[in-house]
């Protein structure tokens, strides 16, 4: 007996530890969200390219598209163009799409569409970049002005990062005479960026222009210029207007370098307009979508790997043990009496379709009518099987009648009655009537109400969306539940109803 207890304890411990560790692995290592509400933004970016093609020459349009290296994952990318050949190639960390056509005429419109999301999880890949560059040659007053600017920058900075920040701030101080000279009356962002590049090149600090798109819905956009520099391990991003460091998370890197977004051969008046909109999507579904494009295949062996139809079936199935657990607790801990052991779970499943209130009403009506039929059949002295068959047929007719009636009355909900398990109903009627005869009406009512209560509670718990999501996503939770069920198998304490039942003892002790 003792070895059996030890055996059981070990088994429970193993199951619980296994269940908890698998779930913990899924949550903490794989990063699967614990609730369904954890949704991710899904961005839909359209770049519309318009230009006028000249009739004679072949047309070739080159446009940068996002390289999507680190922080974003592309879910779908499409190039919409009539009669144009499309080619995508990578150049120096940028991606470029080339549309080409031998003959085109008049206004042309091409689309580039990208659906992307923030990278779901996982390690960031290593990046490489230059840490040294040669100085850009400058002569005369520019050289003196640049050096005059550099001296205080050197003084006010400690490392590359602060050096760049300081340089950008100085260049943006338009009251400075040196800056005025260098800018030569062109205080545009692009020009400022060039001056910054010049200054930094003298200090042999490499800097790169970065063109970004802001992930904000329904706003007209033009690519925004940022500067970045490589510090040996990572890229540092700087705002060329303020010198602030760090790229906001809503910026999407479109391309780097000095080149224009678009170059058109054989056309003119090229114009690119961006439009963005976003939608939300469940994180798990998103992860499933992305796993074709990335290495996020950890969902491959979960229930999400099943076809959608099957998934829905399993969402119901994995909840059955929860319902069974509810019945177990109600019967063995509380001491509630129900008809049959798992009949309430089956009734609870039927409630899924009918909704709770309506389900209880239908169940009560059918059972009550079935009981009266059963008591009438009692007079005919039939054998059990024929009698059961009659009751079953009656139940089917009753269900059909209720469906028809409610349909005529326009109560579509009434049609769901057809999903009540007929055999369960028949057995419930049979058992209830036997209980009625043998133990009396009050006991039968008690059992019937107990069954309905257990079924309702099981239904309510089995349909909590958070719980369904959790159990479906982390099926290892079922192992923990098996551990609990095993422990219940050797529970020997009182049931709550027994405390009432044996009250006679206590009254005695008090008096």
């Amino acid at each position: 007996m003792r070895s059996l207890t030890l055996h059981l304890k070990l088994l429970i411990a193993i199951l619980v530890v296994l269940g908890i560790s698998v779930t913990a692995y899924q949550i903490f290592v794989l990063g699967i969200p614990v609730t369904e509400d954890a949704t991710d933004d899904l961005w839909n970016i359209d770049a519309k390219v318009e230009f006028v093609a000249s009739a004679k020459d072949p047309v070739k349009i080159q446009m940068f598209v996002p390289p999507l290296s680190r922080d974003f994952v592309s879910l779908n990318e499409s190039f919409i163009s009539n009669n144009y050949g499309v080619a995508v190639n990578r150049v120096d960390g940028n991606r470029k799409v080339t549309w080409s056509a031998r003959r085109a005429k008049g206004n042309q419109t091409l689309y580039y569409r990208l659906v992307l999301t923030k990278r779901y999880s996982g390690e960031k890949s290593k990046v490489k970049g230059p840490t040294f560059r040669d100085s850009i040659a400058v002569e005369g007053p520019e050289k003196i002005a640049a050096e005059a600017l550099l001296a205080p920058i050197r003084q006010h900075s400690a490392d590359v990062e602060t050096f760049i920040g300081e340089a950008i701030k100085r260049v943006n101080n338009l009251n400075d005479d040196n800056v005025k000279l260098l800018l030569a009356g062109d205080p545009s962002t692009v020009h400022k960026a060039q001056i910054v590049e010049l200054l930094l090149s003298i200090a042999h600090v490499p800097i790169e222009k970065v063109h970004t798109i802001r992930l904000a819905a329904d706003q007209p956009q033009t690519p925004e210029l940022w500067l970045r520099s490589f510090n040996g391990t990572d890229w540092l991003y700087f705002n060329p207007e303020t010198g602030e460091q760090g790229l906001p998370t809503d910026r999407l890197l479109w391309w780097t370098g000095d080149e224009n977004l678009i170059t058109v051969d054989g056309g003119k008046k090229a114009n690119v307009t961006f439009s963005l909109n976003n939608s939300e999507m469940n994180a798990i579904r998103l992860a499933k979508l992305t796993d074709e494009n990335t290495d996020a295949n950890f969902l491959g062996y979960s229930l999400y790997g099943l076809p959608l139809q099957t998934q829905q079936t399993f969402m119901i199935m994995v909840m059955i043990p929860i319902g069974v657990l509810v019945i177990l607790i109600l019967r063995n801990l509380v001491g509630l009496q129900t008809l049959g052991t798992f009949t309430p779970v089956l009734i609870a499943l039927a409630f899924r379709e009918t909704q709770l209130g309506f389900g209880i009403v239908l169940f009560t009506i059918i059972t009550a009518l079935g009981l009266s039929l059963r008591s009438y059949l009692e007079h005919l002295k039939l054998q059990m099987l024929p009698r059961l068959s009659v009751v079953l047929t009656f139940v089917v007719v009753l269900i059909a009648a209720i469906s028809l009636f409610s349909h005529k009355l326009g109560l579509e909900r009434g049609l769901s009655v057809a999903l009540f398990p007929m055999v369960i109903l028949t057995m419930t009627i049979e058992r209830l009537s036997i209980t009625w005869e043998e133990r009396g009406a009050s006991h039968a009512m008690k059992v019937a109400i107990g069954t309905l209560f257990a079924a309702s509670l099981a239904h309510l718990i089995m349909t909590v969306p958070e719980l369904v999501y959790f159990v479906f996503t982390f099926p290892a939770v079922l192992l923990i539940m098996v551990g609990f069920m095993l422990a219940m198998g050797r529970y020997r304490g009182y049931r709550l109803t027994e405390l009432v039942r044996f009250k006679a003892f206590l009254k005695k002790a008090d008096s």
């Binding site: 002295k381 054998q383 059990m384 529970y491 020997r492 027994e498 044996f502 003892f505």
Partner: protein, 328 residues
């Protein structure tokens, strides 16, 4: 919540056994599943008992198929009174007690006149398994009707009072006299409204009663006191019950016995899952007593001895008997 906890602790202190403990520590531990058919099927129990020389109500016949229902007359023969039972019935359901014949019909013990067809329908219901535990096919048992000893006349209403003794590994641990009431319609099952009266294991004197989980001292139908009644042949009952362990091999059973006015103590049936209301009737928890018996068994095992029926009865009578009568 706190009140529940207090009740819990109080019950535990008194050694009251709950269903979960009975199932986990006694029924599952001492009763081997393979031996259940012996007690679940009254016909097998009876055959075993007869083979062991234990007195049981005489069996007139068994009906196991619809065809055999035609043999009913042959089985009843000249008997005017008899009992029809489902062999695997539970809780006294499906039992038909015929007390007499009346104008070619039969009169049940409650005075209702029933026709032969109704009896045949009842047997047919039994055969289809309406009253059996798992709902599967069953056999009908037709046997001698026990006529209760006159001693019970004043404290029972119709039916046959029986004596239930709970036996753990051959040691009787608690006894109860079950008296039918009007509410239980002559049946001796507590959940149907019969009275349970505790019995002192040593003397056979009745203690006090329990009726529907309440404590009572008088029979509700006859208003006679149920306590202080001396049961005759008490040691005989104790030995009969203790011997049932060897008969069926199950370690934790409820033995139901009757006292027939002519044939004396008879074994009616054995129960592998005896109820817990016997504790209320005896105003005593089962756990304390079963633990004492288990300690005794452990001790005997260490010494390598086994006890005979007489020794076991003597031990429990010494241990649990001679309860001072309760006042009030």
């Amino acid at each position: 919540m706190f009140g529940f906890w207090k009740t819990w602790k109080a019950l535990e202190a008194r050694g009251i056994m709950g269903i979960n403990r009975r199932n986990a520590d006694y029924v599952l531990k001492y009763n081997k599943r393979s031996l259940y058919p012996i007690v679940d099927d009254k016909i097998i129990t009876k055959e075993r008992a007869i083979a062991a020389g234990i007195h049981v109500p005489q069996m007139y016949g068994v009906i196991s198929t619809e065809k055999e229902i035609d043999n009913l007359d042959k089985i009843i023969g000249e008997h005017n009174d008899f009992v029809i039972k489902p062999a695997q019935g539970a809780g006294g359901d499906g039992i038909l007690v015929v007390a007499d014949r009346f104008e070619g019909r039969f009169r049940t013990v409650s005075g209702k006149i029933i026709s032969r067809e109704e009896i045949q329908h009842q047997i047919s219901s039994i055969l289809t398994g309406l009253y059996s535990l798992g709902g599967h096919r069953d056999r009908a048992l037709i046997e001698y009707r026990v006529i209760p000893d006159q001693i019970f006349k004043s404290i029972s209403y119709e039916g046959v009072p029986d004596i239930r003794i709970i036996v753990l590994m051959g040691y009787p641990v608690m006894a109860m006299l079950r008296l039918p009431t009007r509410q239980s319609s002559g049946k001796a099952n507590l959940h149907q409204g019969a009275i349970g009266v505790g019995v002192d294991l040593a003397t056979g004197l009745t203690l006090r009663g329990t009726w529907l989980n309440n404590i009572i001292n008088k029979h509700p139908d006859t208003t006679n006191a149920v306590d202080g009644v001396q049961l005759p042949y008490w040691d005989g009952f104790m030995k009969l019950a203790a011997g049932c362990h060897e008969l069926c091999g199950l370690g934790y059973i409820g033995v139901d016995m009757v006292l027939d006015q002519e044939k004396g103590p008879l074994i009616l049936e054995l129960n592998a899952r005896p109820g817990l209301n016997i504790q209320i009737a005896n105003d005593c928890g089962l756990t304390l007593r079963t633990h004492a018996v288990e300690a005794r068994l452990e001790d005997l095992k260490a010494r390598g001895v086994t006890e005979t029926v007489e020794e076991r009865v003597a031990f429990v009578q010494e241990m649990f008997g001679h309860i001072p009568t309760v006042e009030g």
